[in-house]
Amino acid sequence: MNVVKKLFKAREISSFLCLLAMFLLVGLVNPSFLKPQNIMLCFNGSIVYILIAVGMAFVILTGEIDCSIGAQLGLAAAVCATFLKNEAPWGVAILLALLVGLVCGTINGFGVTVLHIPSIIMTLGTNGIYRGLIYVYTQGKWVENLPAGFKGLAQTNIFGNLCWFFVMDLVIMLLVFLYLRKTRHGKRFAAVGDNEMGADLIGIPVARTKMLAFIICGAFSALGAVLYVSRVGFVTAISGNGYEMKAIAACVIGGISLSGGVGTVAGATIGGIIMASISRLLVFLKISSDYDNTITGILLIAIVVIDSLAQRRSVEKARRERLAARVTETEGGADHE
């Protein structure tokens, strides 16, 4: 009973319900949306978003933000694709992509923790730099005609039409979830975001934790880049443009607070699926594509506003209940309820 109640209080649940409601609503309008095959396509389509949202979750949990992951993803994808194209072994290409992600993440972390630059500014700056480097690296050209085998990875399905990358994402997410919730080391991220001074007081290395969050975030964007390359099959200089905002939105929709300390990667994953599915929903709703942005905007605002109001209400309700419970009924009838 208590467990069930607790589960329903979890913020991820409200995000999950939101996802469910969205799918069902679209299914009402256009039943073909609910075909299992299509649902799986939605999941397959979110493999990149899930990874970047999970990576972003680390940074946001520590109370910082990373506005450069779109460019990190693009840069790592460009490197990975270029090496693949030049027939480097896959492992080398993937490792190099990860290396790019780690370096980018380290630079961000360095700026935030050592140079004390506010993360939003640091990463806005590096976003420009990394994006510019993609142009330098690729000369603005598309990297295309990648080995068919590598592209085939993203088309290898298990359980019917479900891409194995999606399952991999879920496994990674689960491991990260357990790490963040159950291990002493993992709990540090939320603690740092929740109260930096308090974390410092009990001996949590704040700067190192933040640094680690940025590096992990970089690694996840690089991993996302590898999946991107496999899924899309070509890389352009604008690959990943704007993904940082989508990842942030995914985290927020998933119940992660931008002020740090609150939320889980499960929420980020659900948020990632929602963000990746919006453009699909619209196709099925038969709404003019002209309204893509309008509806995305309305959805985003509606979800976060409703969620926020519900949260506030429940907090306020709990407070009032607790306060009311303090008042004893000494003299009968004096109470005005």
């Binding site: 630059i117 700056g125 976003n127 420009g128 927020v252 309008t294 995305t296």
Partner: protein
């Protein structure tokens, strides 16, 4: 010790001075690379290309002082532009009436987002991200209401409207005059009025502001309205400058605006900052891009130097205000 307050003030002053120095350096260096750069009409003309960023960042400063952020201003530019075009062409309104109407639209858009930020407690970044989608979508909806196609743009505006950006008074381009006027207005509003003080106080501690009898929510909401309004002014200028109303103008301005505000010395956590710094910083960035481009650097690479500038300047700023670093530095120089 005695001059604690004064040193703080002079620190701020010197920050703005530093930006001016950077600006002068830029002009000198780029002038060396390409002497045409120094022609007065070239320099003055260059402001045309970043005036929108200058104008909007002045008022986004207000938002950031309340501890918020506004990443929707770019899409309000497009909405304003297409609104003014549509009203003028299809509804036959006088162009200036249409312009006023468009400014009101920008104001309302800003207020709507501001409302959500102030009254529902959703983080400003998310609300304005949603807003940026919403308003760029609405811009397309406005196009659909008009007789022209979205891709065509609306052109052929009357001469008087075109003068907004191409005319000049005593050799000073109108755009520069508008910019200076807006600097003065925003400066007075932020630093000389009660409203401006409230903006600061709400940014420092909203709860303490409530206890001081300040109506925090309307104040916060209003700053988004102001920035929306400034975005629509920028939209008008841009429409006049391009001679064409389009729904996707300004889509790329978000990052430069935030960059200018922060580089100008406004804290992203609220409570500190000012419009003069923002104004200078916006010009510093604009001139940097212009100068680099004139020196032959292709546009797609420009974000690299701007990013580096941002990081270098902030490193300087953060470390110089960090007592531990200052102490270390003093020790080092003292010993030598």
């Amino acid at each position: 010790m005695n001059n604690f307050g004064k040193t703080m003030k002079s620190k701020l002053l010197s920050w703005e001075m530093l930006l001016v120095v950077v600006l002068v350096l830029e002009i000198i260096i780029f002038g060396q690379i390409n002497p045409r750069f120094l022609r007065i009409n070239v320099l003055m003309g260059s402001i045309n290309d970043f005036i929108s960023i200058c104008v909007i960042s002045l008022f986004v400063t207000f938002v950031m002082i309340t501890g918020g952020i506004d990443i929707q201003a770019g899409s309000i530019i497009g909405l304003t532009s297409i609104t003014v075009g549509m009203l003028w062409q299809d509804k036959g309104l006088n162009i200036w009436v249409a312009a006023i109407f468009a400014i009101v639209v920008g104001l309302l858009c800003g207020l709507l987002s501001g409302f959500f930020v102030a009254y529902t407690g959703v983080q400003p970044m998310v609300v304005t991200l949603g807003g940026s989608f919403l308003y760029s979508g609405l811009a397309l909806a406005v196009v659909n209401m008009s007789s022209s196609e979205a891709y065509e743009g609306i052109g052929g505006f009357p001469e008087s409207f075109m003068k907004l950006s191409s005319g000049n008074v005593a050799g000073i381009p109108n755009q520069l005059i508008i910019f200076i006027a807006l600097i003065i207005i925003s400066y007075i509003l932020l630093h000389k009025t009660k409203y401006g003080r409230y903006v600061f106080l709400c940014g420092v501690n909203p709860s303490a502001s409530e206890y001081s009898g300040i109506r925090v929510k309307p104040i916060i909401m209003s700053t988004y309205g102001l920035s929306g309004m400034s975005a629509s002014i920028a939209g008008l200028i841009l429409t006049s400058y391009l001679g064409s109303a389009k729904s996707d103008l300004g889509a790329t301005y978000t990052l430069p605006i935030i960059t200018a505000v922060v580089l100008g010395g406004t804290s992203n956590t609220g409570g500190k900052g000012g419009v003069i710094g923002t104004a200078i910083a916006a010009v510093v960035i604009g001139i940097l891009k212009f100068g680099l481009n004139m020196s032959g650097m292709p546009s797609q690479y420009l974000d690299i130097p701007v990013g580096i500038l941002l990081i270098v300047v902030l490193t300087f700023r953060m470390t110089s205000s960090n007592p531990a670093v200052v102490a270390k530095f003093k020790k080092l120089t003292g010993k030598k």
